[in-house]
């Protein structure tokens, strides 16, 4: 099942009087359960592509479909609703709320959903923290956790609302290679067990090696689209 589709998508940024193209006529289809990595040199458009897939931005031209809905024409609040329910985000610098504990950080997206009961929230959050191996650290705040532990919290936070797709922007960039691999293995396991789609942007060779599908961007265009077993 297709969960995201880009049709002739171009994105340009205005820098003063200069128009800088970030993506040029990109066509892409992502299916449910894919473990996909977007690679390419700096400035190739990886983050822009991720932002468009994540409804954080709209294209200058073309259409972005998420579950069949064209998101380009939606109002900011409607796009926020889509992000709230259907997309999980993992960031390079973890972006946890420092004043909340690991447990509260993971719980945060559920409080935005509103309709999840306190009991259900507790069960889901604790279950996920156990899955990512942080059951003994759930009451610690981010400054009391290592980088790897913080990224695990971020993964749990991205998964807690059971999104269709998780977008991860260079998730291993701030981690040592051993921790990075553990994190990747964790996401891979979740992908295989729960069927959640993962889309990464990365420079990291190891992330590319883990990916089922590797898209290489160059100058805002898809240069390669490789599928692996």
């Amino acid at each position: 099942m297709t969960i995201a589709r880009l049709e002739d998508v171009s994105k340009e940024y205005q820098t003063g009087k200069l128009t800088v193209p970030a993506l040029k006529d990109v066509n892409l289809e992502i299916k449910q359960g894919e473990f996909l990595s977007i690679a390419g040199p700096s400035g190739s458009g990886k983050t822009t592509l991720l932002n468009l897939l994540g409804c954080l931005d709209v294209p200058t031209r073309g259409r972005v479909f998420l579950n069949g809905t064209d998101t380009a024409s939606l109002k900011p609040d409607t796009r926020a609703e889509i992000r709230r329910h259907e997309i999980g985000f993992i960031f390079q610098s973890f972006n946890l709320v420092p004043v909340l504990t690991a447990l509260e950080n993971v719980e945060f997206p559920l409080t935005l959903l509103g309709h999840v009961s306190a009991q259900d929230r507790k069960a889901r959050v604790e279950g996920l923290l156990k899955t990512v191996g942080l059951q003994d650290m759930m009451h610690r705040r981010p400054p009391e956790l290592s980088g790897g532990q913080q990224q695990r919290v971020a993964i749990a936070r991205a998964l807690v609302k059971r999104p269709k797709m998780v977008l991860a922007d260079e998730p291993t960039a701030n981690l040592d290679s051993k921790t990075g691999e553990t994190i990747l293995q964790l996401m891979k396991d979740i992908n295989e067990k729960q069927g959640t789609s993962f889309v990464f942007s990365t420079h990291d060779k190891m992330v590319m090696d883990y990916a089922q599908r590797l898209i290489i961007l160059r100058d805002g265009m898809i240069a390669e689209d490789q599928r692996r077993q």
Binding site: L56, R83, I87, V99, R157
Partner: protein
């Protein structure tokens, strides 16, 4: 909502030092507001009691024309057979007591010096039911019916260096017979007591003498110039005024409540209240600039986090609300501390009083009070100050909140 509140609360103390400084500024502003308003309210309340107890009663009834500004005290416009009018007035259930008085301008002459004054003949047996002069005696004693004695205001007594048993001469024009010029009467009176009411008008200008002596001296048998009433409660003021107006002969009498009679004092008090409130409001608004600064700094520091929250699906309105709630919490805590401390101090001022003469000496501050000045802490003041503090804080947080809400998620996430 609970999650938002928890997050907002923790965010407030993210930068502890900055928040404490802002809290202290809000607290100081609200503390000053409560204390100053409590002092002004107390001053107003105490002055109100003073005016009622020693000067105006709850309301006064004159013959029309008696107290016209041009005519001064026109003794031709006196009330004859006041007993009948008083009996009629006492039929009203709200009227607790009524007493007749004669007020007339007089010249006090003593030891070769003279000074204009207001002399008032009081019904010795009934006056105490309406006024409280007896409790203000600081030297000598109260008057006895029919005696040739006077009570003199403290300041007036000081001017003439009068003491009980001294003698003064009162010179005044008696009530004229119709079509005639009133003769001047001069009579000697023994000072029986010195009174100190704290009301500069009474203490500096008035002498009191028995009504019967006044009636006889001023050629006003069985007459008074005004009837003063004390009601069972000030709540009935307007009702009783209407009732009296409908009962007494129309066009003959005028009814003046204490509010009408103390108009100039009340206007002065109102101006002082407004002036102080405006000054303090400006002070509190200046502290609001501190809140704007604190919240703006927070929104800059948390730009990346705001981007993350937007990515999680938080809408612009929800981000705005988070910052407004943080401002509200800051305001509620600062106001809470300020109002609490201000209330404690104002309460102490209400119980123990503030010694005015220790602060101002003998300076007339335009308020008829003396000795101890009691502050007045009301629920309205406490609640009003709290609401004001929180509202100002929330309003001050609006701009930083709006800035945070308007951030583009992609821009915010890129922010380092």
């Amino acid at each position: 909502m609970a999650g938002l509140l928890r997050l907002a609360f923790r965010n407030v103390f993210r930068n502890r030092r900055r928040s404490i400084i802002t809290l202290a500024a809000i607290a100081l502003g609200l503390f000053s507001l409560v204390v100053t308003q409590g002092m002004i309210n107390g001053m107003g309340k105490q002055s109100e009691l003073n005016i009622i107890n020693y000067d105006t009663g709850h309301m006064k009834i004159y013959r029309i024309g008696f107290a016209d500004e041009d005519a001064g005290y026109d003794l031709e416009k006196s009330i004859a057979d006041p007993g009948e009018v008083i009996a009629e007035l006492l039929k009203l259930p709200e009227v607790q007591a009524a007493t007749g008085r004669i007020m007339f301008p007089a010249l006090i002459i003593c030891r070769g010096e003279s000074m204009p004054a207001i002399a008032t003949g009081i019904d010795i047996l009934n006056d105490g039911k309406v006024f409280g002069l007896a409790e203000t005696i600081i030297e000598g004693r109260f008057l006895k019916p029919g005696e040739n004695g006077v009570l003199v205001g403290e300041k007036l007594a000081n001017i003439f260096q009068l003491k009980p048993e001294d003698w003064i001469t009162l010179q005044a024009r008696t009530r004229p017979e119709p079509g005639e010029i009133s003769p001047i009467q001069a009579l000697d009176f023994e000072v029986k007591g010195i009174i100190s009411t704290g009301n500069p008008k009474i203490d500096g200008l008035n002498v009191f003498l028995p009504l019967s002596v006044t009636q006889e001296s001023m050629l006003m048998p069985n007459m008074v110039t005004d009837i003063t009433l004390r009601l069972s409660s000030l709540r009935y003021l307007a009702r009783v005024e209407d009732e009296i107006n409908s009962r007494l002969a129309p066009g003959e009498f005028e009814v003046n409540t204490w509010i009408d009679l103390a108009e100039s004092f009340l206007a002065l008090h109102r101006m002082k209240r407004i002036g102080t409130a405006v000054f303090l409001a400006i002070f509190v608004i200046i502290t609001a600039v501190g809140i704007v600064n604190t919240m703006l700094m927070a929104s800059f520091e948390r730009t990346n986090e705001i981007g993350m929250m937007a990515a999680m699906g938080m809408k612009a309105g929800e981000i705005r609300r988070l910052f407004l709630v943080e401002g509200g919490i800051l305001g509620a805590m600062g106001s809470g501390i300020g109002v609490l401390l201000g209330s404690i101090l104002t309460y102490l001022g209400e119980v123990y009083g503030i010694n005015i003469s220790a602060i101002w000496g003998d300076v007339d501050v335009g308020y008829p009070i003396r000795g101890l000045w009691y502050t007045d802490l009301t629920p309205g003041l406490v609640i009003g100050a709290l609401i004001f503090g929180i509202a100002i804080s929330v309003i001050a947080s609006y701009y930083p909140a709006q800035r945070a809400a308007k951030l583009e998620p992609t821009e915010a996430l890129r922010h380092v």
